[in-house]
Amino acid sequence: MRLRTSAAAKPEDAQAQEAPPRLRVSQEGYFQRVMLLLPPSIIPQHRSRWMYKTVRPELAGRLNMNLDELQNAYEAVLDDWTAGAEADGQIRLYSASPEMVDERLGIGIGVRNPADGAKSIGIQIRCRRFADLSDERRLVRLQGAVDRAEKQVLALGLPAHVIDVISARFPLISRIRRGHGGIFNQFRTRCRPLEIGASIGRADGMTGTLGCFVKYQTSGPNSTVDRGLLSCSHILARSYESSADRRGKEGDAVYQPREPRTNPVATQEVGNLTQRFSILSPDANNFHDVAVAKLTTEDRSKYSNILAPGVRECYVSGSRLLPPGDGTVEPLMSVGKLGRSTGFTEGVVTGIRVTQRISSQFGGTFPFADMIEIAAKPDGQELVFSDSGDSGAVVFTLPDCRAIGVLVAGGENEAGEHRTYACDLRAALDDLEIELV
């Protein structure tokens, strides 16, 4: 697809998963793939029993978390529990799909508790949009599974009422350590050398993904070719800010990993923002959301666009990310991406040249034109193609790994389907005068 260049945006845990989703109680007696949504009224009185009290005391009582806070809380719990219990095989971690999170702000974590020799369930619940039980009931998908889960919950003596059972989703990601029940996504940790898919961001911004490595001609009399990393402008440059003072400036530090809550110690500056970034307009159509940071790490020349090197779980591992060609992006084309939150996922293009208005967590909406709309692969292992934190990931065709877009946004569209939106990479490269290394 060849798109218009932007006028408004010039520089200024991999486990097998069956389908359909269902509840399964394993021989050991712990729940798998269960998400329990409880009537909000019962939570305060039993709060002390839930994991946030036990694992993260500072999070106890935080039942009004917004989506970002919830994501942070989930990461904090994940980090704490994997660090302490993974080796003992004591835990199973499950995450609800983002569409569920967004709708209901619920994360389910199934726990096998060796202390009582049996099992227990830790649940964090918050229903945001649905005021009462009757509203939630219409969301029940698998009545049989709900009934079975209800019996299990009663047998455990938990004061819970099962409202829904949904499929859990694990990131099909590189370097997930398996075998003991925990999952561990190394893209959220310190990656050296830097890799496509790694967690990056600025200290005062959101967490995103390192999309790819690029090169560009520096300005000035002693012009040279320099190397940088590419991600979203809303990640590296806070380009959603209406005031220029609050947007990123040339030289601003970019960190990897950018996990302030879960991994602050490992964070290290890896780049400085360049002038090459999109500025987002709330009033006019935006055509891309891309920024480049100059690499400041040692031996920059060794960074290349090799996908997931040395990772067996990812079949594109070792493939080179090809620059966008002149070919067209076609409907139902198979695509993939490597992202900080969901790792390697496969999807299908369901729309091209899409006009889509995207909301910012910090207020305002931004109209985008010529977006590529992507759905999770229908027969794949993932329920969604992307999740919060995957912004900046480069979307590439499969199986040839040709870059076509940069992941910008996601969520439920107007038709109630989870979709991911990517801007056209070719247009961004042309506008910002950069190219893939």
Partner: protein
């Protein structure tokens, strides 16, 4: 089965233009409440359809006046009208 021919692509583009012409006057060309617009493709069949999304439920007369298929468009392209989305930065 998805028709990947240039002709099919042109038919979709033409239907988009025609729908835009129909919807424009209905909303007094104020597209600020339109959150999405454009062709989508059914994941199972590959059949194209046009999706127009509003940030909240459109006025009844607007909704009623948007045809379920683009009249005069080749193949009578289906139109879906929807409202409310949670698409936000961050994937």
């Amino acid at each position: 089965m998805l028709d990947r021919s240039a002709g099919a692509r042109q038919r979709v583009e033409k239907a988009e233009v025609m729908l835009r012409r129909i919807v424009g006057p209905l909303i007094a060309d104020d597209w600020s409440h339109v959150t999405t617009f454009g062709a989508r493709y059914d994941l199972k069949t590959g059949a194209p359809y046009l999706l127009i999304g509003f940030d909240s439920a459109p006025p009844a007369h607007v909704k009623k006046s948007i045809p379920s298929r683009v009249p005069d468009a080749p193949d009578g392209m289906p139109v879906r009208v929807a409202c409310g989305s949670s698409v936000r930065f961050g994937g």
